[in-house]
């Protein structure tokens, strides 16, 4: 019963919105907001398996490459900066500055150096989504409980064990927060990088549809993008639940204690 109830609650609003859109747009004459039925037809026709292989897969590959690189760079650099007060003080203003530059602005600049290939797109993604990871890692490392650190020290837990068994897990929840923020930014940048200079990809395809006035197809692309973002964030949630099982439990226990 409870499962059914939860399903009902989860599905209710989306269904209402969907039906609402369908009804409101049913006899839409406007060139730019075609009926939902038309969009769905276009969706079926446009996003065939072949199209997904040709357009979506390259986008996803670039996304994953960029995201992975950003994660490694962000966590690595974040650990170093978080653990070294002086390094932090020196780099903080510079990092703040670079973080504040909107990544799309840098697309042309990065193109100057990295050309127009996949490398450029990956660099754009890395540059944009490394910041939340980096900053959250730094904060997480700084916030490691002093008692935890002293315990580790008094039992002579040092070197790699200190890093992997104490500091990384302790900063874990915050690092994951950064990774989650970075994921949505990475998707945005995937699209933006493909809007500037590309010959395939989801962002490119949407722009092509828009330029060639294939409006239902363009809408179908936007919907696909939404579904993709949703699926990725779902995947992320699953992974997070596994990795941070201890943290969720801890929070739960703390809340129950009240």
């Amino acid at each position: 019963m409870t499962v059914a109830r939860r399903l009902l609650f989860a599905a209710a609003l989306p269904v209402v919105l969907f039906v609402g859109w369908w009804v409101l747009s049913a006899d839409s004459e406007s060139f730019y907001s075609p009926p939902l039925s038309e969009i769905l037809t276009a969706f079926g026709n446009t996003w065939t398996l072949a199209a997904i292989k040709a357009e979506v897969v390259p986008s996803l590959l670039r996304l994953f490459a960029g995201y992975l690189l950003a994660s490694i760079a962000g966590v690595g650099l974040g650990l170093a900066i978080g653990l070294n007060r002086r390094l932090r003080a020196t780099l903080e203003p510079v990092l703040e500055f670079f973080r504040a530059i909107p990544p799309p602005v840098l697309v042309p600049v990065i193109m100057l150096f990295a050309g127009i290939g996949d490398g450029m797109k990956v660099i754009v993604i890395v540059f944009g989504c490394v910041w939340p990871i980096l900053l959250n890692t730094v904060e997480g490392v700084r916030a490691v409980d002093s008692v935890v650190l002293e315990t580790a020290r008094s039992y002579r837990v040092t070197g790699t064990a200190r890093l992997t068994k104490v500091i990384l897990p302790s900063a874990g929840p915050q690092i994951v927060t950064g990774l989650r923020q970075a994921l949505s930014i990475a998707i945005i940048l995937m699209v933006i990088s493909e809007m500037f200079a590309a010959s395939n990809g989801l962002g490119f395809t949407i722009v092509q549809f828009q330029r060639s006035f294939a409006i239902p197809e363009m809408w179908s692309g936007i919907i696909l993008l939404g579904l993709l973002g949703f699926a990725l964030s779902l995947l992320f949630r699953l992974a997070e639940k596994r990795v941070l099982r201890w943290y969720e439990g801890l929070r739960e226990a703390q809340r129950r204690a009240g």
Binding site: A12, T90, F97, A100, P102, L106, I222, F230
Partner: protein
């Protein structure tokens, strides 16, 4: 990096000094790279050329109008997003049924990249400031909403029961317990939203061509005016730093009682 040993004067280790040293190092690097021929001056002009271009820009009226346009779009977008996000967050967060009903929809709408809405914004508002506003609001709204939801969920049951046991009215419970608990989260949300809003404002201007700094950057680029382009990029960066600084200061003022701020002061 050379390590500063104990014997050296204290100011060598001061954060402000180290920070300035870091910035100065960056400026020097950008000056030297093109001068030494490591990169072509056409792609990356030296610091001096960028600064000169910046000075030129600052002398034109257009620059200030664009700056104003960007800030207006950013400010309004942020304001609308924060107001809507806070209201919706408190409403949804404090009514369990609403929270359950909306959870899946929020999960679906939130990750939709705001840039996917660029075509939509263009259709609705053309290249007017409205397009920028739409994108800015959309992107910033989720940041605030999600944080407020976290905040409302974080209300300490003991504090809440204390309020009940002293017979606080419903409004008083929101005003004196719920809101102060959620406030730090609201601030985090606003801070995140402020930077996202700036990014989106400039992206929209750049991609759509609505008025503002982003459009100027596009024009500078199209005109092959590389130092000017860099100068404008620097302006956006500085703008971002200032906005972040402002948000942090406000946060520190208003949340002096909160753990995170206390912690920062102690360090």
């Amino acid at each position: 990096m050379t390590s500063v040993r104990r014997g050296n004067p204290a100011w060598l280790g001061h954060p402000a000094f180290l920070g300035s040293a870091g910035l100065a190092g960056l400026l020097l690097l950008i000056e030297l790279l093109p001068r030494l021929g490591v990169v072509d001056e056409q792609y990356l002009p030296p610091t001096s050329a960028i600064l000169a271009a910046l000075a030129d820009e600052a002398g034109t009226g257009q620059f200030w109008i664009s700056l104003k346009d960007t800030l207006v779009a950013w400010g309004w977008g942020l304001f609308i997003a924060v107001a809507a996000g806070v209201l919706a967050g408190i409403l949804i967060g404090s009514v369990p049924v609403l929270r359950e009903l909306t959870a899946s929809t929020i999960e679906f709408l939130r990750p939709i990249p705001s840039v996917a809405l660029i075509p939509l914004a263009v259709l609705l508002f053309g290249t007017e400031i409205g397009s920028t506003l739409l994108l800015v609001c959309y992107a910033a709204f989720w940041q605030v909403l999600v944080q407020v939801l976290y905040g409302v969920a974080d209300v300490d049951p003991v504090a809440y029961e204390t309020a009940r046991s002293y017979r606080f009215s419903g409004w008083a419970r929101i005003r004196y317990v719920l809101w102060p608990t959620a406030l730090p989260y609201v601030f985090t949300g606003v801070r995140l939203a402020a930077s996202v809003a700036l990014i989106l404002a400039i992206t929209a201007e750049l991609v759509i061509g609505s008025p503002g700094l982003g459009k100027d950057i596009a024009i500078a680029q199209a005109s092959q005016a590389v130092p000017t382009m860099y100068a404008l990029i620097v302006v956006t960066g500085v703008l971002g730093v200032l906005i972040n600084l402002l948000a942090r200061t406000g946060e520190r003022r208003l949340l002096a009682w909160h753990q995170s701020v206390r912690g920062e002061v102690a360090v």
